[in-house]
Structures are given as structure tokens and as C-alpha cells.
């Protein structure tokens, strides 16, 4: 069995709003093996981006643990955390907003190296920047270009090079391709997969697009209103989606095949994650909903080995 690299236990993140506590992430447990990819899928407002930020400590968790090689990094002090950041990096969603418009391509890629002091000598840093640019397929003449001079695909390559510059083991990819055109999206996805093989990277891949996540992930977690409603291997999830929400999500994707009829369409909209009442959060849109879904929190069932689902329909399976 391979080693677990990252694990979360009972991770929660609440935000205070004027209308009450917003449960952005509400008790999420998962683990990622070294060298593998965990896809996190969900629609807007499900808390998937917050989850990524909490794991990287870009925002403080309300409760829970984030284990990296078995140690809880949420307890780390400033200095130790800075060391940790060399191992955990992030690729951001918006290739336009995630690059400082006043810095050149080489400055942006060199920035994490300078801050974390993985390299001191200027020429070494430059060599590293050069190496990273080559790895992500950026031409040398862009060394001194500014981000606004480049297209979305190239900018996203800069973001990837910046994340890779300090030689991390774990990268959170927060919707890295959703702002890109399909042809460019495919280029970046292929590149991310190549880099994973080349450097043995571990990914947490956050996206709203099930078909993208299918290509890149070994395991997939489906989130709905702050909770992980289904977690399994990618193959199992697509062959046998268990949670009614996962099924609805799969049905909603328009297939590029005119003979394939649209599936059943999910009614209603995502409700607000502010002060949710106990019970299944999907119940009000779910065609299988009944009394057992409301009133108390739904535990996680495991009807099949390695396939977890948060839905009372699978109650027997757990017993």
C-alpha cells in the first residue's frame, strides 16, 4: 500500500456573516495517496475552493485537522509553516487575477524561490526559472514579459511554473482550466498529467466539471453545501454513482452526441449554506427524499469497499 500524503479530519470552516454562520466547509474527511490525484467536484457555493484554501492555510480552519505525512499542519507556527509551503503549492483559477500585473514572468516564477530561500544565488535562481519555463512550455522570449501581454493559456502556464518552482510534493489545483478555451484546456490538462508523472506530484484537483475530473483523477469527492456527499475511486463513481446528487450532476452534463438524450433534470437551486438545519442538505431537491433524510445529520455509509456515500438510501449497506 502506498503512503498517504495528505489527510483531513473533521475539517470545518465557518464564516460569520450578518445573517448567521456560513458553513463553507462542514466536516470533510478524505485522504490522498502519494503520487495520486483527488478530484473535488461541486457546483458554485459548495465550498470546494474554501476547502483548498483551508488545507493550504490561506485561511484559518474553524475546526479539524489537516495532516501532511501524518502531522497536523494546522498547529504549525510561522516558521515551520513557511517550510511546509515548499511542499504544498497552489495553482489558481483565474489566470488573469492570480498574477501580479507589475511583475515580469521571471519575477513571478522566482518569487517563491526568493521567499522560501530554496536557492540563494541569483544565477541559480535564473537557471531554475529557465528550467521551469521550459518544463511548462513557455518560450524564452517571455522572460521579461508582463502577464497582461499574454493569453490565458500562457498565463496559466506561468501559474504552474510558479507552483513548481520550489519543487513541491503536493499541489492544490483550484479550477485551473475552467477559464480557458477547450483546446487550451486540453493542453494544460495534458501538461498537468505529464508533470505529475515526471515529478511524482500529488494533486488535489478542484473543479465544477465532472468530465475534466474524470480524466485527471484517481479518486473523486463530490461536494454539496460544504459536505462531501460521495467519495470513491474515479472508476467506481462513474460506473456506479450512488448519491442522488452525483447522479443528477452526471445527468445534467450535455453529451456531445445528438443521439444521447438528456437525463432527468434536477429541480430547484442550491440553498444557502448559512445556518443549515440538520439533515441531508440535498433533501429539498432530491426525488428520493423522505422523513429519514431530515432532522438529524446523515452519517457516512460504505455500501461497497472504498465507496463512501452520505445518504440514507444506503443504510442497509452499512449494517
Amino acid at each position: 500500500m502506498t503512503q498517504l500524503l495528505v489527510e483531513t479530519r473533521g475539517l470545518r470552516k465557518y464564516f460569520n456573516t450578518s445573517r448567521g454562520k456560513l458553513h463553507a466547509v462542514d466536516g470533510v474527511d478524505f485522504s490522498i495517496e502519494e503520487g495520486k490525484t483527488l478530484g473535488i467536484v461541486g457546483e458554485s457555493g459548495c465550498g470546494k475552493s474554501t476547502l483548498g484554501r483551508v488545507i493550504l492555510r490561506l485561511t484559518d480552519a474553524t475546526e479539524g485537522e489537516v495532516l501532511y505525512q501524518g502531522k497536523d499542519i494546522l498547529t504549525y507556527g510561522r516558521k515551520k509553516m513557511l517550510d511546509m509551503r515548499k511542499k504544498m503549492q497552489m495553482i489558481f483559477q483565474d489566470p488573469y487575477a492570480s498574477l501580479n500585473p507589475r511583475m515580469t514572468v521571471s519575477e513571478i516564477i522566482a518569487e517563491p524561490i526568493r521567499i522560501m530561500k530554496t536557492l540563494e544565488d541569483k544565477q541559480q535562481i535564473n537557471r531554475r526559472v529557465y528550467q521551469m519555463m521550459n518544463v511548462v512550455g513557455l518560450s524564452g522570449r517571455l522572460v521579461n514579459a508582463y502577464p497582461h501581454e499574454l493569453d490565458g493559456g500562457r498565463r496559466q502556464r506561468i501559474g504552474v511554473a510558479r507552483a513548481l518552482a520550489v519543487d513541491p510534493a503536493f499541489i492544490v489545483c483550484d479550477e485551473p482550466v475552467s477559464a480557458l478555451d477547450v483546446s487550451i484546456q486540453a493542453q494544460i490538462l495534458n501538461m498537468l498529467m505529464d508533470l505529475q508523472e515526471e515529478f511524482g506530484l500529488t494533486y488535489m484537483f478542484i473543479t465544477h466539471d465532472l468530465s475534466v475530473v474524470k480524466h485527471i483523477s484517481d479518486d473523486i469527492g463530490v461536494m454539496y453545501l460544504g459536505q462531501c456527499v460521495e467519495l470513491s475511486s474515479s472508476r467506481q463513481l462513474f460506473e456506479r454513482p450512488l448519491h442522488p446528487y452525483t447522479q443528477a450532476l452526471l445527468d445534467a452534463i450535455p453529451m456531445p452526441d445528438p443521439d444521447h438524450a438528456m437525463g432527468e433534470i434536477l429541480k430547484g437551486e442550491v440553498t444557502s449554506p448559512i445556518e443549515p438545519s440538520p439533515g441531508c442538505r440535498f433533501a429539498n431537491r432530491c426525488k428520493h427524499a423522505h422523513e429519514a433524510c431530515l432532522g438529524q445529520d446523515i452519517p457516512v455509509y460504505q455500501p461497497f469497499p472504498g465507496h463512501q456515500v452520505k445518504c440514507v438510501l444506503y443504510q442497509e449497506g452499512a449494517e
Binding site: E43, S44, D151, G152, G153, D181, V182, S183, I184, Q185, A186, Q187, L189, N190, M193, H208, D209, L210, S211, V212, K214, H215, F238, A248, L249, L250, D251, A252, I253, P254, M255, P256, D257, P258, H260, M262, I265, L266, K267, E269, V270
Partner: protein
């Protein structure tokens, strides 16, 4: 009934600023039959939105230049209409749904007033009839009519798009232009909205020009498809032609290779290498030649013609002239 009631003939549109000239649409032609849905597919910068705005005659003034072309609607050239006549076409005969429901509604007007405004502009009727019609429209798109006194910020993205649709369909237009109507929405909401548009379109017997980058959306909603690259249509045909025929423009092949598929078991995608050509400096010959895996010397020098087979047209040297035999 089967005659084309809407045609664009050889449309050329440029944007000219002090610094540069962007060649957005370069000789685009398409036609649409009554009751049909045409999917106009392309990536960012292909000229899709420029085409839509040219039809509505809402291109940004001063910088945009329509150099050539004609747009015929029920046999009348929209280009020849006066601004006042065109104003009466907009919203009544041709209506538009926009990409971003967050910004396309006026934040300081109630949604009811915004829907009502279209009716006031085009239909003379009593106050009472007007209010009744607004209520009907809200009910039609699945929003309780008593919410019409609320402001856009009180609605979710999907709800706002429903309001935009109610606005577009208020006068029962003959042609509906939907510019990426679901791109900004979540996938489950997208499904709801697409289904609703399809249903209402049928009920009102409206024809639709659906602009999108999503081949899945096209497959599920369109009768005809036109694929755009660098301001031109490089392939067009029925949905069947595009999704089931063997022969395709290499760019279309590339697009299909780029989309991650749920049904196929493969890890790697087969993307198109390289980038869209710079719209300020388009190459001679075929605009796709630089990225094309099947590029031939002639592609660099000479622009290909359309190869027409029944309803299916491909603008590629692989299928024209002496190359015809080899490729097929």
C-alpha cells in the same frame, strides 16, 4: 416553411483603434430556416459575439466597421434599415439572451419593470393587460410573479437568466439570439435553463441562433451547426453531419479531441497544439494552417473554398480540388 428566413451573406467586421485593427469577422455566411436552431460554435476570439452584435446592429460605435456583407431577415436587409426602424426590430422581431446574467440586468430597476419595459416599447396595450402579461411571462419562466417587485441582486444567477429569457421572449420574437446563455451557470442550472429555452422556443415557434463553445450543448439543442474559426465558418451542416459524419475540418477534429469525454476511457486528450492566430495579423491562406496536423503547402498560400456535400460544407483543401480523392 423550409425557405431560409434569415441569412447572413459574406459579412466582414473589423475593429479599428489608434493602435491596431482587429479582424473579427472575415466573410461569414450562414442561413437559418424558420423554427430551426443553429448552433454557432467557436472559441474565444472566433468572432461569435461580433456576429451576434452585427445582427442586432449593436456593435460598439466608432471602433467597429462593417466593411461588407448583408443580413437579410424576412427578405429585408437589416443593414438598410434606419436606426429608428432597427429599434423596432430589436426586442420585438429579434431578441437576444446574453452570456452573463449577473451584469445584463440593470441593478437599480425592479425585474418586473425591466420585463415590462420591452412590452411598453413594442406593444400598445392597457395597463391592466400589461401587468397581466408580465405576470404570465414570469410564470412562464418559472418565477413566482409576486417577485417582480424585487431587484436583480435578490435573485440567483439561474433565476436572473430566466428573467433575461422572459424579457427576450416577451414579444414572441421570430429570431432569438442566445449568446452563451448558460456559460456562467452551474451545470444543473444549465440543464434547467436549456430545457426551458428549448420548450419555449417550440411553443412560440421561434428560430434560434445559439452561440456556444460547448459541443455538448450543441448536440443536445441544435438542428444545424456552424463551426467558426478566426471569423469564418470552417464547417457547417446538420447535427448529424457534424457529430456522425466521418470527414471533418481538422479544427473540428481538434475540438472533439480536446473535450474530456465521460464515455471514453482514455487518460490523455488530443488537443490542438498552438494558439489561435493573432486577429490583428491574420495569415494568408487557411487561418488554421499554422496549427493543422495535415497542413499542406497550398494551405499557406491559398484560402480553401467550401466543399459542399448535401447539407455538409467543409472549408479545407483536404476536401477540395485535386486533394479530394486522397483525403476521403
Amino acid at each position: 416553411m423550409s425557405e431560409a428566413f434569415f441569412t447572413i451573406q459574406d459579412l466582414w467586421v473589423r475593429y479599428v483603434t489608434d493602435h491596431e485593427t482587429v479582424y473579427a469577422v472575415n466573410g461569414l455566411s450562414l442561413s437559418l430556416k424558420r423554427g430551426q436552431t443553429l448552433g454557432l460554435v467557436g472559441e474565444t476570439g472566433a468572432g461569435k459575439t461580433t456576429t451576434a452584435l452585427s445582427i442586432m446592429r449593436l456593435l460598439p460605435p466608432r471602433v467597429s466597421r462593417v466593411d461588407q456583407g448583408n443580413i437579410l431577415f424576412n427578405g429585408v436587409s437589416l443593414m438598410d434599415l434606419s436606426e429608428e426602424e432597427m429599434r423596432r426590430v430589436r426586442g420585438e422581431k429579434i431578441a437576444m439572451i446574453y452570456q452573463d446574467p449577473m451584469t445584463s440586468l440593470n441593478p437599480v430597476m425592479t425585474v418586473g419593470d425591466q420585463v415590462q419595459e420591452v412590452l411598453e416599447l413594442h406593444k400598445k396595450q392597457s395597463r391592466r393587460a400589461l401587468y397581466k402579461r408580465v405576470d404570465e411571462l414570469f410564470a412562464m419562466v418559472g418565477i413566482p410573479p409576486d417577485r417582480k417587485k424585487e431587484y436583480p441582486h435578490q435573485f440567483s444567477g439561474g433565476m436572473k437568466q430566466r428573467i433575461v429569457i422572459a424579457m427576450a421572449l416577451a414579444c414572441e420574437p421570430e429570431l432569438l439570439i442566445a449568446d452563451e446563455p448558460t456559460t456562467a451557470l452551474d451545470v444543473t442550472i444549465q440543464a434547467q435553463v436549456l430545457q426551458m429555452i428549448a420548450k419555449l422556443k417550440d411553443e412560440l415557434d421561434t428560430s434560434m441562433l445559439l452561440i456556444t463553445h460547448d459541443l455538448g450543448v450543441v448536440a443536445q439543442t441544435c438542428d444545424m451547426v456552424a463551426i467558426m474559426y478566426a471569423g469564418k465558418i470552417i464547417e457547417s451542416g446538420t447535427v448529424h453531419d457534424i457529430f456522425h459524419n466521418k470527414d471533418h475540418h481538422p479544427y473540428t477534429e481538434g475540438l472533439f479531441g480536446s473535450i474530456p469525454k465521460l464515455t471514453v476511457e482514455s487518460r490523455r486528450l488530443s488537443p490542438i497544439e498552438g494558439l489561435m492566430p493573432d486577429p490583428t495579423n491574420l495569415p494568408d491562406g487557411c487561418a488554421f494552417a499554422g496549427r493543422c496536423p495535415a497542413c499542406m503547402p497550398i494551405c499557406m498560400a491559398q484560402e480553401p473554398d467550401y466543399c459542399q456535400r448535401a447539407s455538409h460544407a467543409i472549408k479545407c483543401h483536404l476536401f477540395t480540388g485535386e486533394n479530394r480523392g486522397e483525403a476521403v
